[in-house]
Symmetry: C2
Subunit: 186 residues, 2 copies
């Protein structure tokens, strides 16, 4: 998997936080790939994972997200609500933004969007609209969204390759392929 991602110009962070390295340092790469995973990223991913599990328990698509301030405060957390609200716009990230409510630009610009799954085009755009400078992603094996575009616009993207995020989506997609395709416009 690592080789595949490197071919794509992407880098994942190790799943085990104890083996933390900065991928850009480890690889000696001079390019724009930055992977500054920290224990905090694992902790904030947990907030998004709680949301994903909640969505699954509600009969929905198990994707969760949280907008987190630079001091670690959770500004808003949410999950995909396509099924629950009949909504085509409440993805994990947009639901987290909605939960956070109206915020000044400076707050978004000092925040991180943490999401269990690589963000789709809409959620990529929402991150860009509010100039959120950093995105932490649980996994991008089951769906690869707008990560390259985010990086091209200067956003730091960290992929944690989290085992639970992967199986949550793999199991869900296997059991609900039509619903999943609807959610990604396929």
């Amino acid at each position: 998997m690592t080789r595949v991602l490197q071919t794509l110009g992407l880098t994942t962070c190790p799943t085990d936080p104890s083996s933390l390295t900065r991928a850009s340092e480890a690889s000696g790469a001079s390019g724009g790939i930055v992977c500054q995973m920290s224990m905090d990223d694992r902790a904030t991913l947990e907030v998004a994972k709680v949301q994903a599990r909640l969505g699954l328990a509600e009969g929905g698509i198990p994707i969760g997200a949280a907008l987190v301030a630079d001091d670690g405060a959770v500004l808003g957390a949410g999950h995909n609500r396509r099924v629950q609200l009949g909504s085509p716009i409440r993805h994990g990230e947009t639901d987290a933004l909605e939960a956070a409510g109206r915020l000044p630009a400076r707050v978004y610009r000092a925040s991180t969007m943490v999401t269990t799954l690589s963000p789709c085009d809409m959620c990529t755009g929402a991150i860009l609209l509010y100039e959120i400078p950093r995105v932490v992603i649980g996994e991008h094996r089951t769906f690869l969204g707008g990560e390259a575009y985010l990086r091209s616009r200067g956003v730091e993207v960290v992929v944690l390759d989290d085992a639970e995020c992967i199986w949550l989506m793999r199991d869900f997609i296997a059991a609900n392929p039509a619903l999943w395709n609807e959610d990604i416009g396929e």
Copy 2:
């Protein structure tokens, strides 16, 4: 204005439908700029404008949008509801998508998004997520959104340069600069 837009590689359609030309034919351009304005575009823009006026009457930001099927049926119409709902994700286009509800991919792919204002990054992304092939824009003088990115992803973009859409936004921005900046993440 036309000269400025041509410098940017953009083309506006004439405001008066009676002077309709296909800009790509008129200019002899071999590039990807396509401007197939029709009387129908003016009519569907009116649906979006009604929404913008409604938003203004509610004390909100006067931007409206509609998702329109290829037979002209309005699938959903909406307007910016930042003020009304305290929402950072209900822009005109996303509110129209929410109003349309859950739709099969084939419906989006045979539809047009009509909006009074050039779509921001989030709404650009929503259009791309659902592979909506055509976007009709009332104006892009007060705000230029993701039009170039839409075109780069194969979306047809038509700009009508509508006088009412322009003054609705000019008046609103002049009277509410902070609110407007909040809406575009500034």
